[in-house]
Amino acid sequence: MTRQESETTFGRVNERLSSVLRKYSDTQFGKYALIGPTLFVVAVLMIFPTIILLSYSFNPYDQGAIQAGSTLAHYVRAFTTTLYQDTLVRTIKIAVIVTIIDFVLGFPLAYAAVRKGGWMGKLIVIATLAPLTIDLVVRSFGWFILLNGTGVINSTLMELGLVTRGNAPQLLFNETGIIIGLSHVMLPFMVFPIINVMHTIPHDLEEAAQNLGANRLTVFTRILVPLALPGISAGILITFVVSLASYVTPALLGGGVRVIPVVITETFTSTSNWPFASALSMILVGVALLVIIAYQRVLKEMEGVGGV
């Protein structure tokens, strides 16, 4: 089959399908039928397991076994033990820093991708997207090569005479390592929502603002940010929440420095204390939910004032 044929066949099927969808999505039954599969997946894969975890988190754990009954002991332990307090604070702190870094890097990237257009824009999109096609573990090992004590970055710094072996910065197996790795992983989640919304902002609004005497900073704060707010807020929220919950990158690049998801995994796999691990999970879910709710409140307020 030639390319032409396959395209038209595909096109025909596609057209047929969308006409069927259009027809049925207008009926009550059609609507449910269409979102049904998604609802089913969300229910089975997300809500159901969360409910199981929630119920586990109240089960007493005694003598190496899960007991019947109900207790808040795991939550009390998580919030009163210095180790877990510190880990929770660290986890949130890292997510905040990663979100800030990705916004600072991601906004200009998204802006340039849309406004420069041409090969430059495409290059930015591809460079941002490409890492997603590589497995997380492989990517983390890439950072390992760059960041370790005698890695590419430190040996370059040493060669330039900026640091010596003695005071070379520790870039791996600590918070710095986690932050660098996560910022890389999360960047596309910041960039793409902003690219989407940037496409809807006519360039001549920026020119009009400049023409009225606005410098770059004012154009950014008074025109771009308010108009790009839907994309910016989506990017920030996704980056923060996913950073909060990420496991692979912190586990590989954090060394002895742990975040909550790492602690949860270790508790699940190396002890049988599932109730405590469940409680930690629910705390993380709680933090994420709180942030999402607070965030939506703030956004609504901002819309109320016209976003200026």
């Binding site: 609004l205 009225l212 606005a214």
Partner: protein, 361 residues
């Protein structure tokens, strides 16, 4: 800086060129705009009008040449430090701000007090006849109202010059005619120097003090509307502005007269000589009269022909007359006593030597 007639020069382009890769969008353009003058940049699509305008706003940097504003070279001054007020074709109103906030935007950048800003908003809304619109959302306004807001926003900052890129291009004919009048009145009242881009020749002829006709990045002629119409400098200008009959024939000089020989009939041309690269002889349709066959008059140019079509347009009658080498358009005014010719009638066209123009190639 002063021009020859004593008026201050507000805008000066000096040898300005803008290249995009191999394309010369604007090619070695030089002109002045006097203080308070409205200069229209007129030309077909892609002739470089917008690019010329955008370089004055600072949105594009010239590849070569200098641009001065009120005597100061601003070629390398960033946009936000140039004293220009721009009205965009699609208005570029900030959708997340009210009409009042749109107007206040520029005033805030200039550091005005809240009270002063409020006064100024009311003042300019009054000028564009939009009293009480300050709290409206620009998205809910009609095209004409948005256009007025865009104008108000630009004049609020009292710029040295106003830049307009097809400001009425998105409006229907009736509204355009009305706003043409209002805009020119406002511009004259404020005495604000204006560079006005349009591809609509009628609009340019109506509103401009002077017209710069652009073609392929170059200015073909810069003159008053009357001069551009009556004495177009080049064949392009003659063709682009108004309806034009080009007469084909052999152009030569005999005893001090410039003559066009159209298949044996000699036509006198209003020109001092034949330019080296030839030229195009033309007559506007309304300058010609279609007379009965056999009409003679030694004091004017005459040419026999045959009517091929007649259009009765109410105030005038338009004939298409075959004169052998080509078909010309003749507009006769519908005055009392004018006899109408029928298609197929033989006629004699007559027009004065004065109106037989020569445009350079």
């Amino acid at each position: 800086m002063d021009s020859a007639d004593g008026a201050e020069i507000a805008i000066q382009y000096d040898g300005v060129t803008k290249e995009y890769g191999d394309l010369k969008a604007v090619n070695d353009v030089s002109f002045d705009v006097k203080d308070g003058e409205l200069l229209a940049l007129l030309g077909p699509s892609g002739s470089g009008k917008t690019t010329t305008l955008r370089m004055l706003a600072g949105f594009e940097k010239p590849t070569e040449g200098t641009i001065s504003l009120a005597g100061d070279d601003v070629t390398h001054v960033p946009t936000h430090k140039r004293d220009t007020g721009m009205v965009f074709q699609d208005y570029a109103l900030f959708p997340h701000m009210t009409v009042g906030d749109n107007i206040a935007f520029g005033l805030k950048r200039q550091g005005f007090e809240k009270g002063e800003i409020q006064e100024r908003i009311d003042e300019v809304l009054d000028m564009v006849d939009l009293q009480g619109f300050a709290d409206r959302n620009p998205r809910n306004l009609s095209g004409g109202q948005q256009q007025r807001v865009a104008t108000a926003r630009a004049i609020a900052i009292e710029p040295e010059v106003m830049l307009m890129d097809e400001p009425l291009g998105a409006l229907d004919k009736k509204l355009r005619d009305q706003l043409e009048v209002e805009l020119t009145e406002l511009q004259a009242d404020l005495g604000i120097t204006t560079l006005y881009v349009t591809h609509n020749q009628e609009e340019a002829l109506t509103i401009a003090d002077r017209i710069a006709v652009m073609n392929e990045g170059e200015i073909e002629q810069i003159a008053s509307p009357i001069e551009v119409y009556e004495e177009p400098a080049t064949e392009f200008v003659a063709d682009f502005i108004g309806d034009t009959n080009f007469l084909e024939g052999d152009l030569h000089e005999t005893d001090g007269r410039v003559v066009l020989d159209i298949e044996g009939t000699e036509v006198d041309v209003n020109a001092a000589g034949v330019p080296a690269n030839g030229g195009a002889v033309f007559v506007r349709p309304e300058k010609m009269n279609a007379r009965e066959a056999g009409y003679t008059d030694e004091s004017v140019n005459t040419l026999p022909g045959t009517v091929t079509r007649r259009l009765f347009l109410g105030s005038k009658v338009r004939y298409f007359v075959d004169i052998g080498r080509n078909v010309v358009t003749v507009d006769d005014s519908n005055k009392h006593g004018t006899t109408l010719h029928e298609p197929g009638d033989d006629v004699v066209l007559s027009w004065s030597v004065h109106d037989t123009r020569l445009a350079h190639g």
